[in-house]
């Protein structure tokens, strides 16, 4: 059943969503391809809309994909699925292993986990920047202009610490001029 499938898939993703939203995009993409909930282009739109909204990009993407796949019940199933693991894991940590963070096991797992998350985020960026990786699609105006805005927004976030909302607004204006 579609709702159950959405719930279980996002539940799995939720348990693995270390490092926040952007690493999760790769996982969502994998599950979406497998089940065919939405097309590649719709997924890209969902990620962009999620980036425009407050809150976690992972949860927002789950909501949008659930909605596109099965309407409001789908949105609820997917969102519950991705949020529930956080609730369960945090309650377990708070109830049992309070001083978990300083332990050897946690430190060494995170030592291996962080580079993998970096890989996942870079992979998500490549997929997002080049949704169609044929030669004709890579060297065209849309890709070029998207990369240009992307580079500007990267610099604005990391170097100048400009508020994301401002960047989104300016990029929308740039889009209207460039495309």
């Amino acid at each position: 059943m579609l709702l159950w499938q959405l719930f279980v898939s996002f539940l799995k993703i939720g348990f693995m969503s270390f490092g926040g939203g952007y690493a999760v995009i790769s996982m969502i993409q994998y599950e979406t391809n497998r089940f065919g909930w939405v097309s590649g282009e719709e997924l890209r739109q969902a990620v962009s809309l999620s980036g425009m909204s407050p809150g976690s990009i992972a949860t927002n993407s789950a909501t949008l994909i659930g909605y596109r796949a099965a309407g409001l019940p789908g949105a609820i199933a997917a969102t519950t699925g991705i949020v529930l693991p956080s609730l369960i894991v945090v309650i377990l940590i708070a109830a049992c292993f309070y001083r978990l963070h300083s332990s050897f096991w946690v430190k060494s797992s995170f030592y291996g986990l962080r580079p993998i998350i970096t890989g996942l985020i870079v992979y998500a960026a490549i997929h997002f920047g080049f949704p169609d990786r044929s030669a004709g699609a890579i060297f065209n105006w849309t890709t070029f202009a998207t990369l240009l805005i992307g580079a500007a927004s990267f610099a604005a976030v990391t170097k100048y610490k400009i508020h994301p909302l401002k960047i989104l607004f300016l990029s929308a204006c740039a889009g209207i001029i460039l495309f």
């Binding site: 270390f18 945090v90 430190k107 030592y111 970096t118």
Partner: protein, 211 residues
């Protein structure tokens, strides 16, 4: 007895409402959200003290999921056990759920308008930059030596070439870290699992996140 139940319900309602208000104000998510939570929870309501706040930050950063949801679950649990955690998480999730829902509703009506399409393409560029910035920040805290650099490059290559399920990559990463640290210790090599600042103190130690 009556009184106790009323008190409990009032607490649950308050938890829900506090996080309901924090939810939509957290544009830019992640650690921007933590400042608002700290102000509300430690400053205004005195629900937690300083040392509990630092526990909160490290747990919220290392548990899976968004920092905001994790932080709300932790605070909710400390104050009202499992019902408290559920109320707080519902509170922080509901407003963004509604915003995303309304936004996508409007977008589905407007997506055929050429100007909206062009603006959306511009926003795609901005989001690409956000993803790049997240990768850059994560790389800064993740790539502390050659083994971590190799692990990052290797995982990217595997994803691009094989199309394996990224969930397995995460599981592999958890195991890999323990194996590498063990092996290095066994070989008598120096092990640095976190980036350290010039004063020799480990930096926050939590995963750096963005949105």
């Amino acid at each position: 007895m009556e009184n106790k139940i009323t008190q409990k319900l009032l607490l649950l309602g308050e938890l829900f409402w506090v996080f309901f208000k924090i939810g939509p104000s957290t544009f830019g998510g992640g650690y921007a959200m933590m400042a608002v939570i700290e102000q509300e929870v430690a400053g205004k309501r005195k629900w937690m003290d300083e040392s509990e706040m630092s526990d909160l930050l490290s747990i919220a950063g290392s548990a899976p999921g968004g920092v905001g949801v994790n932080a709300s679950a932790f605070i909710g649990y400390r104050l009202g056990k499992i019902p408290g955690a559920a109320a707080a998480v519902l509170g922080i999730t509901l407003p963004t759920f509604l915003i995303v829902y309304v936004l996508s509703f409007f977008y589905s009506y407007l997506q055929e308008v050429p100007k909206v399409q062009a603006a959306m393409k511009g926003i795609n560029g901005a989001v690409l930059g956000f993803i790049g910035a997240a990768a850059y920040r994560m790389a800064k805290s993740a790539l502390v030596d050659w083994s971590t650099l190799a692990a990052a490059a290797g995982s990217l290559a595997v994803l691009l070439l094989t199309g394996w399920n990224p969930i397995f990559m995460i599981l592999a990463g958890l195991g890999l870290g323990i194996i590498i640290v063990r092996a290095k210790k066994w070989l008598g090599l120096k092990v640095v699992t976190e980036k350290t600042s010039s004063s020799g103190q480990a930096e926050t130690g939590v995963i750096e996140y963005y949105i």
